[in-house]
Assembly symmetry: C2
Homo-oligomer: 367 residues x 2
C-alpha cells in the first residue's frame, strides 16, 4: 500500500473513525484503525458495537491494507505539519509515514484479522439533514436509561410512521419524544439504537444542511453521510408503546418562557452541599409559578410570571429532569401541562407537536 493525502483530510478521517475504536480491549487489533487502499483510500474503526468507515481523498499509488494503533496514529498525524502525508506499507507490516522532514516507521498489524463492517441492503431508507438529525439526537439522548436491567431502554426508539421520523427515549421517570416530517415517501420501520451509538453519531454530525441517509436491516442500522458510514447493532426486543403513555387530559396548563424556567430550576437545585437529590416544589397560582426548595443548607424561592388555565396546583419534581429537558428546547416559550400533582406532566411547544417531554412528579408529604 502506498497513498499520499493531505494532513487535514487524513486527520478528519482519523478523528471520525476513532469514535468507533475501543480504548479498553484485550485484542490489540481492535485498538487499531484499518487503512485500506483499493479504488478509494478508506479508514475503518470497529469495536463490534459500532463500526465507522471514512473515505479519505488520496492519491493511491499502490493498493493494500494495514492496521495501525489508533491512538498513536492519531497523535502523530495531529502533530504533522499542514502538508502532504505519504503512507507506505513495507515488508513485515512496517508502515512508513513521511511528511516534510518527519519520517516515521511504525509496526503495523496484518489487516486480515480486522473485523469487517457488514454491507447492509438499503432497506427502510430515510433521508434527513445532518443538522436536524443532530438536533433530534441531542433533544432525546439525555433520557435514555442507563439501567442495565432493562436493556431495551438503553437505546432510543427510531420510528418512521406515515412519513414522520420520531426519536423516543424513556428511562422510567421521564420520556423525550422528538418528531420531524419528511416530504419523501418512506417505508414504515421501528428500531432501537443504543444510546452509545447515538452519542457518537451526534458528535460526528455537523450542523449543516447536507443530507444523511439512514437505512436498516433486521439487526443493524447504517447512517450514511456519503464519505462516511456508521453501522451499529440494534437492541433486540419490543420497545414500550410510548403513545399510550402520553396523557390527553390536563388539569392545569401554563405558558412560560423557557430560559426563565430553566434558570430558576437550576438556581433552586443549588441549595445542597452533596450529591443528595432534593425535589423542587412548583406552586402554580393565577399569574405566577413559585419554585421553592428547603434543605438543611437553606431555602430558595423563585417567582416567575406565567399564563395559566385550569386549577391551582402544588407539585414536586426532581429538578434534574426539568433542567435536562429545558436545556435542549430552542423555543422561547413553551407550554407545561399538568394532569394532577401525582400524575405526569408534559412540556410541549406552544404550537405544533415537534417535541413532547414527559416528567413524573415526586410524591412528597406536603403536596
Amino acid at each position: 500500500m502506498r497513498v499520499v493525502c493531505s494532513k487535514d483530510n487524513l486527520m478528519e478521517g482519523i478523528n471520525i473513525t476513532q469514535k468507533a475504536v475501543s480504548s479498553k480491549t484485550t485484542l490489540p487489533i481492535l485498538e487499531g484503525i484499518l487503512l485500506e487502499a483499493s479504488d478509494k483510500f478508506k479508514l475503518t474503526g470497529n469495536d463490534l458495537e459500532i463500526g465507522i468507515e471514512c473515505i479519505v481523498e488520496s492519491d493511491i499509488q499502490r493498493t493494500g491494507s494495514i492496521v495501525l494503533n489508533s491512538r498513536m496514529f492519531g497523535d502523530i498525524v495531529r502533530r504533522l505539519p499542514e502538508s502532504e502525508v505519504l503512507i507506505e506499507v513495507k515488508d513485515n507490516n512496517l508502515v512508513i509515514i513521511e511528511c516534510e522532514n518527519s519520517h516515521f516507521e511504525l509496526k503495523g498489524i496484518n489487516a486480515s484479522g480486522f473485523p469487517v463492517i457488514p454491507e447492509i441492503n438499503k432497506n427502510n431508507t430515510f433521508t434527513i439533514s445532518q443538522k436536524l438529525l443532530k438536533d433530534m439526537i441531542k433533544q432525546t439522548l439525555f433520557a435514555v436509561s442507563t439501567d442495565e436491567n432493562r436493556p431495551i431502554l438503553n437505546g432510543s426508539l427510531i420510528e418512521c410512521k406515515d412519513n414522520t421520523l420520531s426519536f423516543v427515549s424513556i428511562d422510567g421517570y421521564r420520556m423525550a419524544l422528538r418528531s420531524a416530517a419528511s416530504d419523501n415517501e418512506n417505508q414504515d420501520f421501528s428500531v432501537v439504537v443504543p444510546g452509545k451509538t447515538l452519542n457518537e453519531i451526534g458528535k460526528i454530525l455537523q450542523p449543516v444542511d447536507d443530507e444523511i441517509t439512514i437505512y436498516n436491516s433486521e439487526n443493524q442500522i447504517t447512517f450514511d453521510m456519503g464519505n462516511c458510514r456508521v453501522v451499529s447493532r440494534l437492541i433486540e426486543g419490543e420497545y414500550l408503546n410510548y403513545r399510550n403513555l402520553i396523557p390527553k387530559d390536563f388539569e392545569t396548563k401554563i405558558k412560560v418562557r423557557t430560559k426563565e424556567l430553566l434558570s430558576s430550576v437550576e438556581r433552586a437545585s443549588l441549595i445542597t452541599m452533596d450529591e443528595k437529590r432534593y425535589s423542587v416544589k412548583f406552586s402554580i397560582d393565577d399569574e405566577k409559578i413559585i419554585i421553592s426548595l428547603n434543605t438543611d443548607m437553606g431555602a430558595v424561592r423563585e417567582e416567575i410570571r406565567i399564563d395559566m388555565t385550569g386549577s391551582k396546583m402544588n407539585i414536586s419534581f426532581n429538578p434534574r429532569y426539568f433542567i435536562d429537558a429545558l436545556k435542549v428546547i430552542d423555543d422561547e416559550e413553551i407550554e407545561v401541562k399538568f394532569t394532577s400533582n401525582v400524575g405526569p406532566c408534559i412540556l410541549a411547544p406552544v404550537d405544533g407537536d415537534s417535541y413532547t417531554y414527559m416528567i413524573l412528579p415526586v410524591r412528597t408529604r406536603d403536596n
Copy 2:
C-alpha cells in the same frame, strides 16, 4: 450586614477568592468565603497556605460579616441574572441573597472563627506589570519540583538583585530562570514562594499593563493588585546557588527555530504506547540536527536545518524537558548550547539573557 452590588462584580470577586478556599478540609469554616462590610465590602478566602482578599464595589447599607460556603455561594451567584444583588445577614447567621425574582436564605457561619489574613509591612517592594509577572510565572513554574523530600525545591526562588527581578525553578534535572530589569530603585531580597501559590497567582493575573506590587516579610509574601491582595507563606531554607550551576563554556552551539524544534521533539516523543519514558537522541551535524527515537513500537527521524558552531555531537534527552521549555519561549529563534554529551545544555535567547533553561542529558549506551 447589608450590601448591594452588581452580580458581575460579585462574581469576579468570588472567582478570585475561591482560589484560596480549601476543597478538602475537616473545618467547614475553611470551605467558606468571609464576607465583610465595613468601609469597603471585602471577600476573603484562606486555606492557611494562601489567603486572598478582594474588594467588591458595593453600596454598604449596614456593616457586619458572615462566612458562606464557597462552592454553594459561587454556584448560586453564577446563575443569578445580570442585575443588582442584595446580601443581608439576619438573626442566627441567616443570609438573604436577593436578585430580581430570586430569593435565597442560606445558613451562614459566624465570622469570628475565620482565620484573618495578616497585614504585612510593605518592605522589599517591587512593582511590575501584571502581564510581565504572569509571563515570568508561566515561564518558570513548570520546572518546580514536586519531590516532597526537598521542600525548598517545591517553590520558585524570587530574587531581586541590582534592580533585576528573577524567577528560578529547579527540579534536579533541569532549571528555568527568567529575569526582568526594573527602572525603579529596589532593595535586594530573595524569597522562595510555593509553586501552588504561583500557580494560583498566575491564573488571577490578567495579561494587561496594570501594575502589581510585591512585598514580603520574613515568612510571608504579598501580591497586591489594588482591589485584590494575595498573601502566601514562604518556604523556609536556603535555595540552591543557581548561578554556580550555569555552565560558561560550550563545545557546540546551534541556532534553531523554536516552533520547529518543539514540533519535532513532540512528534518524536509519540512513538510509545505507554507512559514509559524514552529519551530522544539529538545528532548535531554541520547544518542539521537529526532527532530520533527507537522503541518497540517503531522509529522516528526528524531533520531540522540549523546554524551550528563547534563540534558535532550525539546527545540524548528526556523529551518532556525540552517540550516544557520550548512551549513557553516566545522568541521565534533560540540558541541551544551544549557543554558535552554528558553535561548540561542551555536554551537561551539569541540576544540578551532574559531567560535561561538548563537541561541535563540522559546517558545512553550509544552516546
